[in-house]
């Protein structure tokens, strides 16, 4: 697979343990109790969307559902709230995956923004129906920061796949 479809570079295949480790790392970042900091990104949603776009036959709605349940327990929110949002996110990202990789990174991030806004809208809608408090419009800043992080996370998570196929002892890097 290429970094983007218009690129000529062929990447190595992804390793399953790396996908698992990155999802666990994102979960750990999301569990850091930052309280009500507006604009703190949703790391799990970001990494989940990333792998749903890159490897949509390996990571999909089942992964989204499981991660969502864990987030519901950790966040002390209603069971199924994040699960529903992440399942829809995984479906949306999988659906976008044929299209989005034709674009340069900044425009990919623009594609991710409505996905993240949709995820937040789903959780907000569910909680408002359940009698929750409206968190205010600054809450949706998190979507923007998450979408912006799409660009660095692309390089970070593809780093192991950028390695050359044959190891060259004389190459400096």
């Amino acid at each position: 697979m290429q970094p983007t479809h218009s690129s000529k570079r062929i990447l190595q295949g992804v390793r399953n343990w790396f996908i698992l480790a990155s999802l666990l790392g994102a979960l750990l970042l999301d569990l850091i109790p930052v309280g009500r900091l507006p604009g703190w990104p949703d790391w799990v949603a970001l990494v989940l969307a990333f792998w749903c776009v890159r490897e949509r036959f390996k990571v999909g709605m089942a992964a989204g559902f499981l991660l969502g349940i864990v987030m519901d327990v950790a966040d002390a929110s209603v069971m199924g709230e994040h699960a529903l949002a992440y399942v829809l996110l995984a479906y949306g990202a999988g659906w976008l995956s044929r299209r989005i990789l034709w674009f340069p990174l900044s425009r990919q991030a623009l594609h991710i923004l409505p996905l993240m806004l949709g995820t937040q809208a789903v959780t907000t809608g569910v909680r408002m129906i359940g009698g929750g408090d409206f968190p205010g419009w600054t809450y949706f800043l998190a979507s923007v920061s998450t979408a912006v992080l799409w660009i660095p996370i692309h390089y970070l998570l593809l780093l192991p796949q950028y390695r050359p196929a044959e190891k060259d002892e004389n190459r400096p890097i």
Partner: protein, 304 residues
């Protein structure tokens, strides 16, 4: 196309179609939502998952606590000395009240025994540290570091040095979730200290409280102190909760809109006290309550 009633062998096995999978997971999520919002059947699952993810959460808590400790380490010498002086002064002042309080308690007990009334339950509890505020943006909850292993149970009242901050809504083995009084779904039965007018206090969002269901001409003034009434059988009576900040008596409505600010440091506490469960006097026998009709006595247990 089928040949002789058989499908051709598939090249790629990919399971059910994406839309079918989406429908399945959405239905399961909605079922979970319904079960959790309406029936609360999922508490055992939540308990189990909380225990399983405990190491992960402890790991995630480490940077925050390190930051907090670093902040404490770097606190200026002058700040610490000022705080020390202030605390010493506070102790002395508290000692005077405490001495008088003991004497008053004694006197109160004597008077109560004269009146043959029941003793008021003394406040006992567990000191707990607030670990963090939950990230759930739609409710106001904090997590404390004491759980069912330290005899913290759901329903117990949590206070700080000034007044009530909330109620334990979920107790896990090592931690517990406290819903703050500023949460929209949290209700505290209170009375106005000045004239013992009873009402129910709800969270109003934005760190405010709202006194609901009071008539437009109710005798409430700005600055009135609201204390727990103890009618619910959960809160001990007489704990400070809030102070009336703003009154809006609109001409049309039958109810006044009364907003209050919490007295306790509800959203900025570090150390709190979880009060022990309140022991209620035994209900009178049924025959005595309903001598004529065979109506069942109404349960006095509180909400949540």
């Amino acid at each position: 196309m089928t040949v002789a009633g058989r499908d051709p062998p598939p090249f790629f096995r990919r399971g059910p179609a994406p839309f079918a999978r989406l429908a399945f997971f959405v239905i399961v999520s909605l079922a979970l939502l319904g079960l959790d919002l309406r029936q609360r059947y999922l508490e055992p699952l939540r308990q189990a998952l909380t225990v399983v993810t405990y190491p992960l959460r402890t790991l995630a808590l480490a940077p925050v606590q390190a930051l907090r400790e670093a902040g404490g380490y770097l606190a200026a010498h002058g700040t610490l000395r000022r705080e020390n002086a202030r605390l010493a002064e506070q102790t002395v002042r508290a000692a005077a009240t405490l001495l008088r309080h003991e004497q008053l308690e004694l006197e109160n007990r004597q008077l109560r025994s004269l009146l043959a009334m029941r003793d008021r339950q003394p406040a006992k509890g567990v000191v707990a540290e607030v670990l963090y505020a939950t990230r759930d943006a739609y409710s106001r909850k904090v997590v404390i570091d004491k759980g069912t292993r330290q005899a913290v149970r759901a329903g117990q009242v949590v206070i700080d040095d000034l007044g009530v901050i909330g109620q334990v809504t979920r107790a896990f083995p090592l931690t517990a979730e406290v819903t703050l009084i500023t949460d929209r779904e949290q209700a505290v039965p209170v009375q106005v200290r000045r004239n013992a007018l009873r009402a129910v206090l709800f969270g109003a969002g934005d760190g405010l409280l709202e006194l609901r269901y009071l008539a437009g001409n109710a005798d409430v003034r700005e600055g009135d102190e609201l204390v727990t009434s103890g009618l619910d059988g959960i809160y001990l009576p007489g704990l400070a909760v809030g102070r009336v900040a703003r009154l809006a008596r609109e001409g049309t409505g039958a109810f006044a809109r009364i907003f209050a600010t919490p007295i306790a440091g509800v959203e900025r506490d570090a150390l709190v006290l979880v009060l022990g469960e309140r022991v209620l006097p035994a209900a009178p026998p049924r025959d005595a309550v309903t001598p004529r009709e065979q109506r069942p006595a109404r349960a006095r247990a509180g909400k949540k």
